[in-house]
Symmetry: C2
Subunit: 305 residues, 2 copies
């Protein structure tokens, strides 16, 4: 339990000041921030002055407007703080409002296709009245959507060591449940020299060219962490969310990719080679708020079954 006295005086760093600061830093301009936020330039100036006065440090250089070192540290905190305040609001709405009949299911492309789509079909058969929307998005967007209550159930995925949980940012306060783990495979164009191998080790691919597709596959940085390898270079970055397009980039030899084996089964022009070491799996988890309506928990149960 938190002793009530443990929280001392944090006042004067009020959220609207943080919001203004974030906006000014993002736009690099007081006047542009004022326009965007519906304030006067003067008000924005006063906001920043209030923050700087309270903290006793300059947060922004002027002309050009750029964060100082201290300002950068505040920026690192301000986003998460503001997001969490909105998450609190969303959570309260969930706890207070009656649960909606309509359920929004969000997920990363690889998490949502296949297995989950099948489970969703079953669930809808057994819950005939259930109205569902489905949307795909990148992982952070899914987690953010769940945090803000825009998504009731999120399916997120990633590549980790077996039975390791996914490491989600800003999601301490959300509940997660494992859904599936499956082997990963290296995706190669059919005519690639390695395409005939029965298995490969990631360490042997240090100087290969990787495709970076953070909207669909595990971002390279995460892959480095999971693999323990430090250098995975990427020559081409795919920023969209369509798996078929991404696979055709692989087929045309734009780079290698690590994907769940099932996503590669029967894809034209792409060869899947099992990865023997390090031992990695493609893991899918369900993420949701801690207060679930009846319809949502029924669907959650179906998806984790």
């Amino acid at each position: 339990m938190i002793h009530a006295g443990s929280i001392s005086n944090t006042d004067r760093v009020e959220p609207h000041l943080l919001r203004t600061f974030v906006t000014v830093a993002a736009l690099g301009s007081f006047s542009a921030a004022a326009r965007q936020l519906g304030y006067t330039q003067s008000a924005v100036s006063q906001h920043i002055a209030a923050l700087e006065g309270d903290l006793g440090v300059a947060l922004l250089h002027r002309r050009p407007v750029e964060p100082t070192a201290a300002g950068q540290r505040l920026l690192d905190h301000a986003g998460p703080i503001l997001r969490r305040m909105e998450a609190a609001r969303a959570d309260i709405r969930r706890a207070a409002g009656e649960p909606p009949g309509k359920v929004v299911l969000g997920g990363c492309p690889l998490a949502l296709a296949g297995r989950a789509a099948r489970a969703l079909a079953e669930a809808r058969r057994s819950l005939p009245g259930l109205e569902v929307s489905v949307r795909t998005a990148a992982r952070d967007a899914v987690v953010g959507g769940v945090a803000l209550g825009e998504i009731d159930l999120g399916l997120v995925d990633g590549i980790v060591a077996p039975s390791d949980p996914l490491r989600l940012h800003d999601a301490d306060f959300l509940a997660t449940a494992p859904v599936a783990e499956e082997p990963v495979a290296l995706a190669l164009p059919g005519e690639h020299p390695l395409a005939t191998r029965s298995s490969v080790r990631l360490r042997d691919l240090a100087d290969a060219n990787w495709l970076d597709a953070p909207g669909i596959a595990a971002p390279l940085g995460e892959l480095r962490a999971a693999a323990g390898t430090d250098d995975l270079r990427s020559a081409l970055r795919y920023e969209g969310g369509d798996t078929r397009t991404l696979l055709s980039l692989v087929a045309e030899g734009h780079g290698l990719l690590l994907l769940p084996a099932s996503a590669l089964a029967g894809v034209q022009g792409v060869r899947a080679v099992p990865v023997s070491a390090p031992r990695l799996v493609h893991r899918t988890e369900l993420v949701h708020g801690r207060t679930l309506g009846a319809a949502v928990s029924a669907l959650a149960a179906a998806l984790t079954r």
Copy 2:
């Protein structure tokens, strides 16, 4: 990058209102909270009314004063939000103020004794001017101290699967570095029936009596998570921070304990039996803010070497 427009109107949930709410909930009384915070009862009442009005939900039952469901959700968020606001302040101080000559090293007892104490000795020999304070505390207190800038370097430990990072709460924004991993052993009184075994498996100990010593050893909940076992019962809880006392409780047969093997070497009346499965290690990590002064980084380097 965050689009500046992505942060909408979170106003009216101001930190001082949250602080009042947390205090009222903790004390179960408006008037007690008012006394503690230096407000009038009236002001406290108005604070709560403002929050409830803004959120459109009752947050507290009155007589007796207890959080509603919605209030409980807000409580879950309020603490982390307020702590992070203080962490932001501390971080800014660190970035702005000139680095102090004095370094505060905090750590959990098991993380700090032995290896780290030795490394600290070496570091102080090679940095003669360095003034250091050392303090031990439970893990959350160490992490919190680092977050608030009261501790420059924290050494925390825990029991996890090999090469897994420790899972620290509310510490996304702190930097961590692995320091050491060593085998864990089961601590038993000398005359315990298992004391002669050459190794044990945790699953065989499901109905043993464990000592819960969250200030020193891994809390039972964490152990359950790491071991995958669901039921580890505890009959006695040690709430202090003195390792010798804890070990004497083990020697007197008050319960079993999982500790790093080195902590058990040569302890009177305590037998250490290696744990064969699941594969677990005692891991030590260094945790610190992202802006380090020269003295602090020198010490950090010595401790992670």
